[in-house]
């Protein structure tokens, strides 16, 4: 998995490529927690994300809870396969997906 971060003022855009699974999810969690302070808008770009497991969902949920207190979080460019994961888990009701 590769993580690319772009901070524009209080907006943080994070491009995630590859797999977000049991092994890589802790890495994303650490990157977000290290960078999220003071951010009012967090954008997660899933254009190059191929695979998402429940470990990744937990990180997203944690990030969403944090951003609910300090601003907003948007997930964009979700492919069909990962969208299905969001649908069956009910995450479409929890996340803001564009």
């Amino acid at each position: 998995m590769t993580i690319e971060k772009n901070l524009n003022g209080a907006e943080l855009i994070v491009n995630i490529a590859g797999r977000l699974d049991t092994t890589t999810a802790p890495e994303l969690e650490k990157e977000l927690m290290d960078s999220i302070a003071g951010v009012t808008k967090l954008v997660l770009d899933f254009a190059e994300l191929e695979y998402l497991s429940s470990a990744g969902l937990r990180v997203l949920l944690q990030a969403q809870k944090t951003m609910n207190k300090q601003g907003e979080m948007i997930v964009k460019n979700v492919n069909e396969t990962i969208m299905e994961i969001f649908d069956v888990t009910g995450f479409t009701d929890v996340l803001t997906i564009e």
């Binding site: 049991t22 497991s53 937990r58 396969t81 888990t89």
Partner: protein
């Protein structure tokens, strides 16, 4: 990370972990079988020993007649466990016990009422006939409880409870002695010997209770659903279990023929020759407890692999079991040969070259060839090839052995006995191989043909067959490998994703709950992962050797976050089944192809 591509590790590890307990249990069982003979000598006299010797084969024959039900039920249970059909395992268990009791009662009644006539037929001379009759009457309960006890052991073996088998068999021996003592003391003198027989099955009842308490935690009980009592089911059990029973009966008949051939082949010294052969045979028979232990250890595994249509697992289990038997028998043979002077003294055959030669030939040739035959018999029975299993069990020692004996003994005397006894498997194997080659019109046969694997198993080679450590890095790695592999095989993205995801979620859940942070064993817990491609489905089987843990067993609302992955897998998969057998957690995940 290292994915361990050595696929024997889990199977070898499990068989080895079962073997110690199985061996101890088989040795204890062998002692239990000798108990009445020993107790007859302790409580009574030599004539009582002879009376027990007359009565015992009669009980064994009645037991053999009813054993087909439990043998067949055991095979069915092993296969059902492999398929994850827990209810079928329980139903087969309870139905088999029910019918074994019913039919056992009938035979026990026959044995009790016809005892005097049976003793007459089986060589009860006047000075021992009275005692033999009473011993037989006392022991008729063994027809029921002896078989139920044996069935308990086979069922415990299915769940990998070899220590429980050892505990139960020890209890059987101890309480046999206790009850025998009590009954011998309280019964009138003329029928006191019946107490020995009764002590055996009372000890068996204690053993059954002990076994039941262990089986309860796996949800196995005597509770019977009468709607599952179908004669077709019992007929299925009998048809699949009759090979073992038939062989036991054939052995009993043939032993009389063999004895006569030996005695007549040596003319004046026939009785001496028979005693030498009996002595060598008894030592070899004791050593075959190792083969019985291997079979007890591995029979459930054959059935489990067959039930899940795992071709590689079936063949690996066979290979590992033969390997274990040969190594263990080799060690045993060395020990026995080192002790042969002591054995010669015990049997009063010191200085008899023929005894030593017989022992050497049996240890080197008879034991490994017998191991091959018996494990192969067990293998064929476990994969429902009952007819072939019966051929392997009956033809060499019940047909070829006496024929070879009749040909060789007049010419080669003692050496003729050892050659016939040790090598009777070889003509059978050669002839069978030739016949199968002719049938298949090929000289060299594949393993699939040799082991008569059906098409749906023969062709069911897993696309992925790998063992990994129970470690999250390995789990993620395998999930990625599976995803990439399936994409390269032309499987649509959604199906590939669902398969890889379900595999990861269930494996990760296993790792979390069966390999804790504080356990030192984490590195040694191996997971087998196999992926099969059926026509319209992908089937993933995950097996790990760990304490029982069912990832599918949780309250739907509790700990939502912790079980999110399992719930996700349940929604993506066509079905997910769990079973715990043979000390293995087994998860079978089925994904429909062409989800796009």
């Amino acid at each position: 990370m290292e994915a361990i591509n050595s696929n024997n590790k889990l199977i070898r590890k499990i068989i080895l972990s079962m073997f110690g307990g199985s061996l101890a249990a088989m040795i204890t069982t062998a002692i239990a079988l000798m108990a009445d003979t020993i107790l007859a000598g302790v409580f009574f006299d030599k004539l009582a020993i002879a009376a027990v010797a007359v009565g015992t084969p009669i009980i064994n024959i009645f037991q053999a007649l009813t054993q087909s039900i439990i043998n067949g039920a055991s095979i069915k249970m092993n296969i059902s466990a492999g398929k994850g059909e827990s209810q079928e395992v329980q139903d087969s268990f309870s139905v088999a016990v029910f019918f074994t009791v019913i039919i056992g009662l009938i035979f026990a009644a026959l044995g009790f009422t016809l005892a005097d006539k049976l003793v007459d037929v089986f060589g009860g001379s006047p000075e021992i006939a009275g005692r033999a009759v009473w011993y037989l009457r006392g022991a008729t309960g063994c027809i029921i409880f002896g078989n139920i006890n044996l069935f308990m052991y086979k069922t415990l073996a299915l769940f990998g409870e070899q220590k429980a088998i050892l505990r139960s068999s020890l209890l059987a021996v101890v309480f046999n002695i206790v009850f025998s003592f009590i009954f011998v003391k309280i019964f009138p003198a003329n029928m006191a010997i019946a107490g020995l027989g009764m002590g055996t099955w009372f000890g068996g009842i204690v053993s059954i209770v002990s076994s039941c308490l262990t089986l309860k935690k796996y949800g196995i009980s005597f509770k019977i659903k009468f709607r599952s009592v179908k004669f077709a089911k019992v007929a299925h059990f009998v048809s699949h279990g009759i090979a073992s029973s038939g062989n036991a009966l054939a052995d009993g008949v043939v032993s009389g023929v063999v004895n006569n051939v030996i005695v007549s082949g040596f003319n004046a010294s026939g009785v001496l020759a028979l005693s030498v052969f009996t002595a060598v045979k008894s030592v070899a028979t004791f050593a075959t407890a190792i083969i019985q232990a291997v079979n007890l250890s591995v029979a459930p595994l054959f059935g489990i692999m067959y039930g899940s249509r795992d071709r590689n697992g079936i063949l690996r289990s066979y290979r590992e079991s033969v390997r274990l038997a040969i190594i263990a028998l080799g060690i045993c043979a060395v020990v026995i040969m080192a002790c042969s002077p002591i054995l010669a003294k015990v049997y009063d055959m010191t200085g008899m070259a023929d005894f030593y030669i017989g022992m050497a030939i049996c240890m080197v040739f008879y034991l490994p060839l017998t191991a091959l035959l018996r494990i192969t018999t067990q293998f064929f029975e476990s994969i429902e090839k009952v007819g072939i299993g019966f051929l392997y069990s009956a033809i060499p020692d019940s047909l070829i052995f006496p024929i070879l004996l009749a040909i060789l003994v007049p010419v080669f005397k003692y050496n003729g006995i050892w050659i016939a006894y040790s090598f009777n498997a070889i003509p059978f194997i050669i002839v069978l191989y030739i016949l199968r080659s002719l049938k298949n019109r090929k000289i060299s046969l594949s393993y699939d043909r040799i082991f008569c694997l059906d098409g749906d198993i023969r062709d069911n080679v897993p696309k992925i067959d790998i063992s990994i450590k129970s470690d999250n890095r390995d789990v993620s790695f395998i999930s990625e490998q599976v995803y990439t592999f399936l994409e390269n095989e032309g499987v649509d993205k959604k199906t590939a994703h669902a398969t890889a995801l379900c595999l990861e979620e269930l494996s990760a859940d296993f790792v979390e709950h069966t390999v804790g942070e504080d356990t030192q064993k984490g590195e040694n817990i191996i997971m087998d992962i196999k992926l099969f491609s059926d026509s319209d489905q992908l089937r993933t089987i995950i097996r790990n050797e760990a304490p029982m843990y069912n990832p599918l067993d949780f309250e739907s609302d509790s700990d939502k976050l912790a079980k999110m992955g399992v719930k996700l897998a349940q929604k993506l998969a066509h079905s997910i089944n769990y079973s715990y057998v043979y000390k293995m957690n087994i998860i079978t995940i089925v994904i429909d192809k062409n989800k796009e």
